[in-house]
Assembly symmetry: C2
Homo-oligomer: 216 residues x 2
Amino acid sequence: MSSKHFHHSDIMAMDQRYRTAFINSLSGFKSANLVGTQNQAGRTNLALVSSVVHIGANPPYLGMIMRPHTVRRDTIENIESTGVYTLNHVAESFYPQAHQTSARYDEFTSEFDATGLTPVHIDSFTAPFVEQSPIKLGMTLKEILPISCNNTQLIIGEVTHVILNEQAVGSDGFVDLEALKVMAISSLDSYHVTQQQGRMAYAKPELPPRINTPSR
Amino acid sequence: MSSKHFHHSDIMAMDQRYRTAFINSLSGFKSANLVGTQNQAGRTNLALVSSVVHIGANPPYLGMIMRPHTVRRDTIENIESTGVYTLNHVAESFYPQAHQTSARYDEFTSEFDATGLTPVHIDSFTAPFVEQSPIKLGMTLKEILPISCNNTQLIIGEVTHVILNEQAVGSDGFVDLEALKVMAISSLDSYHVTQQQGRMAYAKPELPPRINTPSR
C-alpha cells in the first residue's frame, strides 16, 4: 500500500476540476436528494443536493448547504418566498433522471418536465414532491445561516411531512433505506447502492462492541 | 405498497427514542468519521460523527454539526483550544471499534485506549490520526457557527492534510471510497458497505442522462 500525504499546498496546486472531484470525495458517502420548490407563479423547480445533514431530532430539523450564486439560485429564492420545500430521496430506479436535474436549464424550463420526473402535490403543501421518490419530506423553512468564509448558506428546515412505505419503518423507528432502494452518492457523480453489515448495539463503557444481526 | 403520511403532529407525538431513530434516518446515508483531538496536556480524544458535510472545494472546507452539551464536549473544547482536529473515515475492518467510541467514557479515559484504535501523529500536526483509517484528514479550524434554533454548532475546518492510498485516486481526482472499504451509516447505528452503480456524465440540457460504466 502506497500511502500518499497531500499537504495544503498540494491541494491548492491541483487543477480546479481535479480538486473539485478530489475534495468532494473527502466528505465520504452522502445522501442524494431532490429539492422541490415552486415560485409564486406556480412554476416548479427541482435541484439535486448531496449536502443534507441531520441537525436535530426534537424538533425535527434537517440542514443543507447551498451556494447562492449557482444554477440552484431559483431554489433558494423559491424557499425564501414560499417558506417551504420538499426533499425527495433518490432511489435506484430513477437516479439518472435525478442527476439530469443538475443540468443548467434556462429559467423557463422546469426540471420536472425536462427529466420526466413527476411533480405531485400533497394536501395543501405548496412545494411539489417527486412521485417516484420512496421517501418524500415536506420541509418548512426555519432559518438561513450565512457561511461567511466561502459565501454559502446553511438552510435549516423543520420536517413537517414524511411520506414513505410504513413497512420500511421498524418497531424502534429505524427506517430501512436499503429496502426502499435509496442511494448514496460519492464525489460529484458516483451513485451507490448499499449492503447493511450490521446495526451496533448502544455503546457502553463497560461492554465490548456488539454487532446485531443485519435486519434482513 | 402502503404509503403512510406522517404529519408534524405525528412526529411530535412519537416516543422520544423512536423519534430519534426515525428522524436520524431521514437525512439518508451519511459518512462515518472519527474526530481525533488532543487537549493542551496531550490527552487524546476520539469521537464518532456522521454529520460531516462538504462546504466548498476551493478553499477546501468541510463542516460538521455538533451538539455542545453532550459527551463530545471534549472534542469541541480541544478543537477550540488547539485549532486543529483530524477526520478519519471509518472502514469495514474496524467499524465496531469506531462505534464503541460513542460510549460515555469518563474524562480520564481516551477512546483510543478504550477501543484499541491506534493514535498516530504525523509531521508536527497536534491532533492524533487513527492509524487504521484509510482516509486521514488533518483539519484546521476556520469558523464555528452557532445554530440558534436548537443550540448546535456548525464547525468548519480547512483540509490541510490528506493521507490515503494514492491508487484510490483516479486521474480526474475522484477518490474511490469503495476500494478503500469506507462505510456509510444510516440512522444512529446501522453500518453499510456500498456497490457503485455508475458514475454519471456531466449533465447538459441538450443531452439525455448518460451513465458511465462503473469504474471497477
